[in-house]
């Protein structure tokens, strides 16, 4: 009997072995190496100097890192406070049963998210271009006094990034909200209507509580996506932009790691980013649990 239990004990491990091996080789070992790397200065794998916490100490006072944090946070705020309400608004509109051409509108709003960020960046760099850009030509056509040479990508760096991201991700997030809205109990809404609740009260007290878990999840996704921003500003601004106003955390990580080849410091920046993202996930978990009980 004991022999049977001992053999049945290793069978699950046998089946788990391929996953555990790949997970260890491609996740655990690199994570461990990244911890070591963050305490080193390197020039390739063979030349390393142990610097302890120096990379983190420098990070704390590095003006460029904090510029990147500030820019990324502002972009994330734009994503959460502009993009998500807009997504929810669109989802509410498209959830109306009497709306004609609902499927077409859904496809139209979702379509931009099928295009890669690189293409979005290229498209918006053409839209925001001086003299020949669509925006300036349009505004100059409508208001002749408007300067056709207005440099959007120099004067309004973050707003330009937020607008480009808005175009791309609003439809994508809309799909989550739409799915959540379709699960809201029609009975509850009808009951609220019978009780005399107006549209705003129905939204505030029936719909919003029902879609809150999905909303919290979308906020978490938007935050994580925003803090990993790289390709959009890198291509739209051809780098960190004027006065580093488009510098993001990941862009800074890339510049240090792959332009000046300082993988140690780059790893320290990576750990700070991982810590930030993990804290968002923990906060999300905390608030989700709080709601459950």
């Amino acid at each position: 009997m004991s022999r049977q239990s001992s053999t049945s004990a290793w069978v699950p491990w046998l089946f788990l072995t391929p996953f555990l091996l790949t997970f260890a080789v491609f996740s655990i070992v690199p994570l461990g190496q990244a911890v070591i790397l963050a305490a080193q200065q390197t020039f390739g794998p063979n030349t390393t100097v142990f610097v302890g916490f120096d990379n983190f100490r420098f990070l704390a006072t590095d003006p460029l890192f904090w510029t990147a944090v500030r820019n990324t946070t502002l972009y994330a705020a734009g994503a959460v406070f502009l993009q998500l309400p807009l997504s929810l608004g669109l989802a509410l509109l498209l959830n109306r049963p009497n709306l004609r051409g609902r499927m077409i509108f859904r496809a139209i709003f979702f379509a931009p998210s099928l295009v890669g960020l690189v293409f979005v960046a290229v498209i918006f760099s053409l839209i925001f271009e001086k003299r020949t850009g669509l925006l300036n030509v349009l505004l100059h056509g409508l208001i002749p006094a408007f300067d056709v040479e207005f440099p959007w990508l120099q004067e309004y760096v973050l707003p330009a990034l937020i607008i480009a991201a808005l175009w791309m991700f609003t439809g994508f997030n809309m799909v989550y909200f739409l799915a959540a809205l379709q699960n809201v109990s029609r009975d509850l809404e009808d009951a609220a209507t019978v009780d005399g609740a107006g549209p705003w009260q129905r939204f505030r007290h029936v719909i919003l509580p029902a879609i809150r878990p999905v909303g919290a999840f979308v906020v978490l996704l938007a935050l994580i996506g925003s803090f990993q921003l790289f390709e959009l500003p890198w291509i739209l601004l051809a780098g960190p932009g004027p006065e580093n106003r488009g510098l993001t955390i990941v862009m800074y990580l890339y510049q240090i790691g792959f332009v000046t080849n300082d993988l140690g410091y780059s790893s320290a920046v990576g750990w700070m980013l991982a810590f930030l993202l993990a804290s968002f996930a923990v906060a999300h978990r905390f608030f989700s649990r709080k709601e459950q009980y």
Binding site: V11, Q41, G44, N46, T47, F58, R131, E243, T260, N261
Partner: protein, 466 residues
């Protein structure tokens, strides 16, 4: 009882569909085939280049070399600069494949020099070139970007002097004599009548110069012309120099305010080329390689433009600058360094190729003895019949020295940020005069200097004692 686990596995296997077994079979078979029939590495030596126009000129010569030397045949690969940088560094530092000969662009080479000397993956060619008398044939200032701690890691492909290209048709029609222009002050004064022509909103139809506050290559060229730049000739950080502040203040005074004389017409863009064609831009900084691109991209400019030396920053000052550049080198792990050196000499010390490169790219060689070739004295219809080659060659010996460090790009970015901040200051305060902008230029450059110095001080490999 004893076989129960096997029975369980057998049952589990039966649970899988036929498709999964087919996939598994294909995966195992293809893996086995790859192990049995290994793909042989390509024969011959490899040569990586980053510039299509360079390679197009080399290809016939490489074919000729391969016919003559089948035992040392070279395969050429065109690799975009960013990928070449990554693959080269990866090869130098991690042992992944490297080429036997490589052509490297200047913005890449600094990263190769970023670590300790033993990690520089290129052969020091200085002694080899000196022994064969090649070193003295090369334009001395053109060696500086490829020299690190006294060692020369590449043969310069080019010199890349910068001249001023101007719309001769418009300038001459306005009765302006460019021979009266010796300094940038003269330039602004003598060319000023061209800005009198205004549109319905009172804006100039023409601007005198193509420069703007985020134009990295233009700003760098002007800083170097003045004797400034991000690093001095000894490799010390020099962002906060007085010369840099003066140049930046002047550039900003050109690019903003009611008396602005400059416009942004980016190179190699349709909109920028249109501004050059319609005469909105009168003059542009033009390195020799860019002249080649103009010829192919804006053929309608032919016969309308002429070249002249850059106006100097002070009377008697330097009349040129430098922009871009590339070298050819041999990785330490090259399979046949002797063949690689012979190949380099065949390409770079070949007057026939120098002529071909000039005809196809307008690039003048770094080998001084080739400067007497008739091709460089031929009248060029694109430049209104001027001998463009000789005009560039006349300035070649005077191009500024440059050092290459891992912080080049970062330092230049900070200088450009300082220029942008200075322009914002000018617009915010209504300060448009270069002299009045000088204190703020110094402040912005001091800030940029401290940011870069902080990064460099933290880096153990960039410390002098490392």
């Amino acid at each position: 009882m004893r076989n129960r686990p096997l029975v369980r596995i057998h049952r589990s296997c039966r649970a899988y569909s036929v498709g999964i077994w087919v996939l598994l079979f294909v995966a195992v078979l293809s893996s086995a085939l790859m192990v049995v029939f290994r793909v042989a590495p390509p024969a011959g030596l490899s040569f990586w280049a980053f510039a299509r126009n360079h390679l197009e000129a080399y290809n016939p010569m490489v074919a000729e070399w391969n016919r003559k030397h089948p035992e040392m045949a070279f395969r050429t690969s065109l690799i975009v600069p960013a990928a070449l940088q990554r693959r080269l560094l990866s090869g130098f530092l991690s042992g992944t494949p490297v080429p036997d000969v490589v052509e490297i662009e200047r913005s890449i080479v600094g990263s190769v020099f970023g670590g300790p000397e033993e990690d520089i993956g290129l052969i020091d060619l200085g002694p080899l070139l000196a022994a064969e008398g090649i070193l003295e044939q090369l334009n001395p200032p053109s060696l500086s970007p490829w020299t690190h701690q006294g060692k020369l890691y590449g043969v310069p492909h080019d010199v890349h002097p910068v001249l001023l290209a101007y719309r001769a048709d418009l300038v001459e029609a306005a009765g302006i004599d460019v021979n009266r222009i010796a300094t940038w002050q003269d330039f602004a004064r003598e060319m000023a009548p061209l800005m009198a022509d205004r549109d319905s909103q009172g804006r100039p139809r023409r601007y005198l110069l193509n420069i703007w506050e985020t134009n990295r290559s233009g700003i760098e060229a002007l800083l170097r012309q003045a004797g400034g730049g991000t690093f001095d000739a000894d490799g010390r950080l020099a962002i906060n120099s007085e010369i840099n502040a003066r140049v930046l203040a002047t550039i900003v005074s050109w690019t903003t305010g009611p008396d602005r004389i400059a416009v942004d017409a980016p190179e190699m863009t349709a909109s920028g080329n249109q501004l050059r064609l319609d005469g909105t831009v009168i003059a542009c900084l033009l390195p020799d390689w860019l002249a080649g691109i103009w010829k192919s991209d804006i053929p309608d400019l032919a016969g309308k433009i002429k070249l002249m030396p850059l106006p100097a920053w002070e009377p008697g000052g330097r009349r040129t600058s430098v922009s871009g550049g590339s070298m050819i080198g041999i990785p330490k792990r090259s399979r046949d360094p002797a063949a690689a050196l012979a190949f380099i000499k065949y390409l770079y010390l070949n007057p026939q190729l120098a002529e071909l490169v000039f005809r196809t790219t307008n690039i003048i060689p770094a080998v001084r003895s080739f400067w007497d070739l008739p091709v460089f004295s031929e009248p060029d219809p694109f430049f209104s019949g001027q001998p463009a080659g000789q005009l560039f060659i006349a300035q070649a010996g005077d191009v500024p020295l440059r050092v290459s460090t891992a912080f080049d790009e970062f330092a230049l970015s900070e200088v450009v940020n300082a220029t942008q901040a200075l322009k914002n200051f000018a617009n915010r305060t209504g300060t448009y005069d270069a002299e009045d902008l000088l204190p703020e230029a110094q402040r912005q450059l001091a800030r940029a200097h401290s940011v870069v110095a902080g990064q460099m001080a933290r880096n153990v490999f960039s410390r002098p004692d490392s």
